[in-house]
């Protein structure tokens, strides 16, 4: 992990809004690894790779990964116990 390249959930707010259909950075998540509950905006983000990796700001384990290809988008949320979304 290169900490100087590290961004945060704010940097992928546009991508998250497009994927989920909601503004997500002020919404809560629970880290599957350490149990931390916080806003998605607090996640640490690495965006320079082929995909986006979002890590817990407390334990630094992977919470969400997003990979786009020409034909599809893969979203791995196995590091999140839950994601909060606004009421519909």
């Amino acid at each position: 992990m290169n900490d100087t390249l590290m961004l945060d959930g704010n940097a992928v707010a546009g991508d998250l809004a497009e994927l989920f259909g909601f503004e997500m950075t002020a919404m809560a998540h629970r880290c599957m690894h350490c149990g931390n509950v916080g806003a998605m905006g607090t996640l640490l983000a690495w965006t320079q790779g082929p995909g986006v990796t979002l890590r817990c700001c407390i334990c630094r384990e992977v919470v969400i990964r997003i990979v786009r290809t020409a034909s599809r988008t893969l979203v791995d949320v196995s590091g999140a116990a839950y994601l909060e979304m606004p009421a519909t």
Partner: protein, 226 residues
């Protein structure tokens, strides 16, 4: 409008702009003739209820900022997504007092917040601590100090060179400086930090060590220093 030698503020006319909150940003995507795309995020510099303004710093090897600061012409059109973001925003309902900590162009979202506060007669107090390399590099160096009054304070630190007779801070943001900024901001400040990643990490860790509850510290990192 030229802010410094390398930083410009652009006013954009966006059809059906839904309005925005201070701290939100937009994503700008440029597509070249061969289909190559480059996308970057830029904080909104203007307060709610006004035209969309972005302040963009030229990154020498950048893919989007050279266009936005040097090549763009009135009448150009490009792809814009936004407003986006809901975490690093301030609304009057969040209260204060505010302590805003900025490194370089990290001051951009704070211009939107401070102009909103100034227009509303500052319902909460705000203190801006802004780190820049030199006085010539200070973005909004005339505009933001002009807002200063009993409720809005602006503190500069110049890390590389200082004008003759400079009496302000002359070092990188550190714990003693933040301790004094907290004292200036008032009890239990709500803190926003925006800047290069290492500055944000240093400031956020120091503030928590100084006893500011982590839930009252919101951060936005924009990567390596240019």
């Amino acid at each position: 409008m030229l802010e410094t030698e390398r930083v410009k503020t652009l006013r954009l006319d966006v059809q059906d702009w839904p309005g925005h909150l201070p701290g939100q940003h937009v994503d700008i995507r440029l597509t070249s003739e061969d289909g190559y795309q480059a996308q970057r995020s830029y904080s909104i510099a203007s307060p709610p209820g006004s035209a969309l303004e972005l302040t963009v710093e030229l990154v020498d090897d950048g893919e989007v900022s050279p266009y936005l600061t040097e090549e763009i012409r009135i009448g150009d059109r490009f792809e814009l997504r936004g407003p986006v973001g809901g975490y690093f925003v301030w609304e009057p309902s969040r209260g204060g007092p505010l302590l805003l900590v900025a490194g370089g162009s990290g001051v951009v979202p704070f211009r939107a917040m401070l102009l909103q506060l100034a227009a509303a007669g500052a319902p909460v107090q705000a203190t801006l601590l802004h780190s820049s390399r030199s006085w010539d590099d200070v973005i909004y160096r005339d505009e933001l100090p002009a807002l200063a009054n009993d409720d809005i304070k602006v503190i500069h630190t110049l890390t590389r060179s200082q004008p003759t007779g400079w009496t302000g801070y002359d070092r990188r943001i550190d714990r003693p400086m933040l301790s004094e900024a907290i004292a200036a901001a008032g009890a239990q400040p709500l803190v926003y930090i925006c800047g290069p990643t290492l500055l944000v990490e240093t400031a956020a860790n120091a503030l928590v060590e100084l006893g500011v509850p982590p839930v009252r510290v919101r951060t936005e990192r924009f990567g390596p220093t240019s």
